[in-house]
Amino acid sequence: MSTQIRYLAPTGMIGGGFTEEYFEAALGEGIEFIAVDSGSTDGGPSYLGADRYFMSRDVIKRDLRLLVIAARKHDIPLLIGSCGGSGGNWNLNWMWEITKEIAAEEALHFRVALIPAEPDREALVEKYRQGRIRPLHPAPEIDETTFTDTRRIVAMMGTEPYIAALEGGADIVLAGRSSDAALFAAIPVHRGFPAGLAWHAAKIMECGGAAVDQMKKPEGMICTITQDYFELKPVSPEQTCSPISVASHALYETSNPYVMHEPGGVMHLENVSYEAVGNRAVRVRGSGFERAPYTVKLEGAAVVGYRSQVLGGITDPMILRDFDTWFEAAKTSVAFTLKRSLGEEAAAQCQVDYRVFGKNAVLGERDSRDFVNHHELGVLLVVVAPTQELASGAAAAGGHAILHFAVPQWRGLVSNLAFPVAPHLTDLGPAYSFVLNHVVELDDPLEFFPVRFEEV
């Protein structure tokens, strides 16, 4: 049994960048593999639904080139999880195309494993019928059509597909949607290091060098795991880890800092201790992992309509002195205009949503604070409708109704909205929603994640 394993997360998200010189120096410290996450749902469901990515090809290629060259030079595995942000098939293929380009440009030859993460829809329907798709909290209502009609559905893989890829001889693993921690935990768990330490370390490493005292720019982290503890050290000599900075990371983007669910088990961080090593590194002990029936989480993005928007500013003191009364009347006028211009039936299909910046656009009804703005407000009107044409027509008519809606203190025709951009009407295209917050029970961790090998 090995006494320790050391690996590198070059940055929190591929494309986020890292300093080449620090990265090169870190590779000299006996690194056994490089892993980097590419996934996030923070950008919302449209990236998965519309086959898009929120980072540019150029920034991904810059980071990926350095990683591929380094992994081949040192002959160590490179694992990339949740490729292309959402980890759908389109996103995975997008990363694969860039990888092939880099190989050609750098005259490199290697074996790649591709692990798609979009389960077969009939298999999902079958799981649903068997009662093996379970809701998390809060979960939307679903039925069989959720699995047949949703634009894209991905499942978040655990560690096992990565191990299958490496056992098949892969030098580089490009994975679809993945548990962020799984790609970092895979090799340490497989090599027999304590699962609690391996998973807890992975949960911190998936954010690269984020668990530092102050992150001035994205850099990496080096993790060393032994049978008793794991130790984290920032790649950048300008950055430091402290017991507080590492402990704090259990709070970031988690709903519970002590208990975290992963495919095949649950991390328990109730008895963890953090100890400074020198002035830059931290040693962590006591992390637990309890086995549980094997489940993976599902994510789905469905089209829920088409959107158009109008944004306008209001600074007329006459309006602002009694804005709420005026705006309620203006909204009534919008509803009247839509019915008259588009007809009752079409108007009923349009959902008109208002956000008033300077009042409560950010928190909405949840904002209990009193605040009066007599100086300037911004009104964002968004329409969701079954077709783009209808959304566009309703937003245009609604915006126009507010623009010229009478102000009681004035006589004559008024123009109440300052449009800051032209055209003032913007069609936003399809609107998506996440439609699954569920886990599916698997008989085999590889069931939804077929590994395919390619030589370049």
Partner: protein
């Protein structure tokens, strides 16, 4: 009384996946953290009032390793839904900043 924001080193909010929001309140020392814990100001009732979420949906964690509280609750709609107002959930902590807390001794 003092504002919670004047005692904390960081109050922040963020998505915890597409369906949950989570708020972290981090204090610069164990003394201040323990003072706020003892004050019982961060209660499910108070968080329910501030965030407009039923008490039964509020989870509060005291996290001594980082001198921090975590408060988690479901989003009204998942992030990026047409009715969502804050895609990353980054500004939802705001009503906590001026919450009144007894002055530390």
């Amino acid at each position: 009384m003092v504002a919670l924001g004047s005692l904390a080193q960081l109050i922040r909010s963020k998505n915890a996946g597409p369906w949950m929001l989570t708020v972290d309140i981090m204090f610069p020392s164990a003394d201040i953290y323990e003072h706020v814990v003892a004050s019982r100001v961060i209660s499910a009732d108070e968080m329910s009032r501030i965030f407009g979420v039923p008490v039964s949906e509020i989870e509060i964690f005291e996290y001594a390793p980082a001198n921090a509280f975590k408060i988690s609750f479901p989003r009204k709609v998942p992030n990026g839904h047409p009715l969502d107002r804050d895609l990353f959930g980054g500004q939802q902590f705001a009503p906590l900043v001026d919450l009144e807390v007894p002055e530390p001794g």
